[in-house]
Symmetry: C2
Subunit: 372 residues, 2 copies
């Protein structure tokens, strides 16, 4: 739901969208709005993705925007639409025609957590986060909500997330800030390697904080982008923690490669491997699967130089196993719900972290039963 009239949204908006070739009607609609850079409201529904719904889907997305526009007295062309849920079924427009006007009257500035509840599908918890900082003399807030639990994979901004800030930032600079934050947060998580037809992250800037317009040239820019990163990172972590069937949250960090891009590729390959993820579920320090998954990334490295830590526990050094005692200690670390794994592959400067969860029986249960 829109943060609505009580929040002074001037309407500059940036967006990042799925790169899946198959894109839902609301993504097509909202992409245009983000490109134009001005948005006054966001309307989101769960339960139905309005994807693979053809011309009827496009018409339904447009009508939804028009309903919101009429209710809030803003142009429909400035209303972003987002949908999440089952693919391939028509949006239940009678419900939306009834519901949108009712929801519009219920808008309030502190409604973020209710909106975070409303966009859940298989999510088990609502996901919201705020960050505050000082830009020069002006206190600035960035607030965001997200939904996502399955169909989560890096490189696609894979889920819905809506952020807003009262910082005075123009549309182009807002896009810079959002793209940079998404690249290192939402694009560095994976649940199941599947990318969605409906992914969409929006950041709206209202300017209500006051002060001069913020640009990358200002000293306060780093503070602002830090806040955007903080909120995106917290929401991304919340999505992984709530991954379908997840019992573990694990951050894989790869160090020592020539470039960050190579480190990202290796960390993603490890974080996405079903064999690694089932070992996480079994709390099995199966370093062989981790190395084998790393070797699948298409990045050259020397396994004989590999060092692996599970939490603080060293398990491999110079490519060699450190013995049964180290392995037992590593298994102890893996009993925790959340921990980090570090794979050092050389002495280059390229480092990256990717968050993932384990692959459990419940992922199968949730997805074998999701529709039927």
């Amino acid at each position: 739901m829109s943060p609505g009239p009580p929040l002074p949204v001037a309407g500059f908006t940036a967006g990042v969208f799925t790169r899946n070739v198959v894109q839902a009607a609301p993504v097509t609609w909202t992409r245009k709005i983000a490109a134009a850079g001005t948005c006054r409201a966001i309307v989101a529904n769960s339960g139905n993705a309005n994807a693979c719904t053809g011309p009827q889907g496009e018409a339904d997305a447009a009508e939804t925007a028009a309903l919101v526009g009429a209710a809030l007295e803003v142009p429909a062309s400035q209303v972003a639409v987002a949908s999440t849920g089952v693919i391939g079924q028509p949006l239940p427009m009678p419900k939306l025609r009834q519901g949108v006007p009712r929801v519009a009257t219920a808008l309030r500035a502190d409604g973020w957590t209710l909106a975070a509840e409303a966009i859940r599908t298989t999510d088990t918890v609502a996901k919201h986060r705020s960050a505050r900082g000082q830009v020069g003399a002006v206190p600035v807030t960035v607030t965001g909500i997200a939904k996502g639990s399955g169909m989560i994979h890096p490189d696609m901004a894979t889920m819905l997330a809506f952020l807003a800030t009262d910082a005075p930032v123009g549309a182009a600079d807002l896009q810079l800030a959002l793209t940079a934050a998404v690249e290192r947060t939402f694009n560095r998580i994976t649940v199941d390697g599947c990318t969605s037809t409906n992914d969409c992250v929006l950041l709206m800037a209202g300017g209500g904080a006051g002060g001069p317009v913020l640009t990358p040239a200002e000293p306060g820019w780093a503070v602002f982008t830090g806040l955007v990163h903080e909120v995106c990172d917290a929401l991304a972590a919340a999505i992984v923690a709530d991954g379908e069937g997840a019992t573990k949250q694990v951050t894989f960090t790869v160090t020592g490669l020539p470039t960050e891009a190579e480190a990202v590729a290796v960390a993603r390959a490890v974080a996405a491997s079903p064999l690694v993820k089932t070992a996480l579920y079994g709390a099995d320090p199966n370093w062989g699967r981790i190395l084998a998954a790393a070797g699948q990334a298409g990045v050259d490295f020397d396994p004989a130089r590999a060092a692996l830590h599970i939490g603080d526990q060293a398990l491999l050094k110079d490519g060699r196993h450190l013995g049964a005692e180290a392995e037992a200690a590593a298994a102890g670390v893996m009993a925790a719900r959340a921990y980090g794994v570090t794979l050092a592959l050389g002495d280059g400067p390229g480092t990256a972290s990717v968050r993932t969860c384990d692959l459990s029986y419940d992922y199968i249960r949730i997805n074998a039963d999701y529709r039927t």
Copy 2:
């Protein structure tokens, strides 16, 4: 185990190996032998992959070859070594020193099925296949065995398979025949998207059938390569049918794209998607997930032209759903253990099929418990 002295193996051998950066010691050893083109025996063990075992692993692979060489009176440099099983533990050499001489005395020409039994790990059935054909006046046989159940993904010849033929074929031409067959068989299956450190497919040509040396210029070449393809294809299908935890075998065929390479990419993306594979397990004709997975392949197509069949049942036409009756009929097809799914994306000549299995609770059970 080697097909052994009773089979007149002249020793020309072709090999295809994992492209994983992390390669097991036996792969390093056997790659050299296949490159040299002459091989007199293959020794394989299950239970231990001899991967990530450093210099000790290299020495153990070499010693294993030497043990076989001594037992069969062939040069160790002509003995291929293959291992499969747990990564990162030293080969139990005392067992091999005891076992190899004993196994060598038990070799017999009809021992293929016993060898297929011996190389199983999580495989629930042994996998073997023979094909016979007529090359000119000469009857020719191609026989093969394989192991593989998890860590199976296209593009890597992902498992162990050993083939032999009595056709008289030189090493270079043998490599041509094997590479072509692997590309369209073992490289078009997936179980879990994970590639192994130990993948290896070997084809030995003994020449015992007699007749003139076969080359690609001979009219009999197509017959011979057809036999190699038939055996590889049957073994690849057997691996998917025996995929860890699998209850379904499904062949995804993509048609109508400009090139075969694009069709392969889309078919692989669909066949590897955990969300598609859990839907197969649930016998849910979830065409939205199939389209979404297809859209993730990085191949451009127009979803509005997509047509989907499950078995013979049409489910989508021109990107639109054909209704509840079609869906119920498709769910009926999916109750079978094996069926095909065809996704038509245009009228181009590019077509490809990829075999996969479903993702079930048992995949989790097998892999959360595999080591510990």
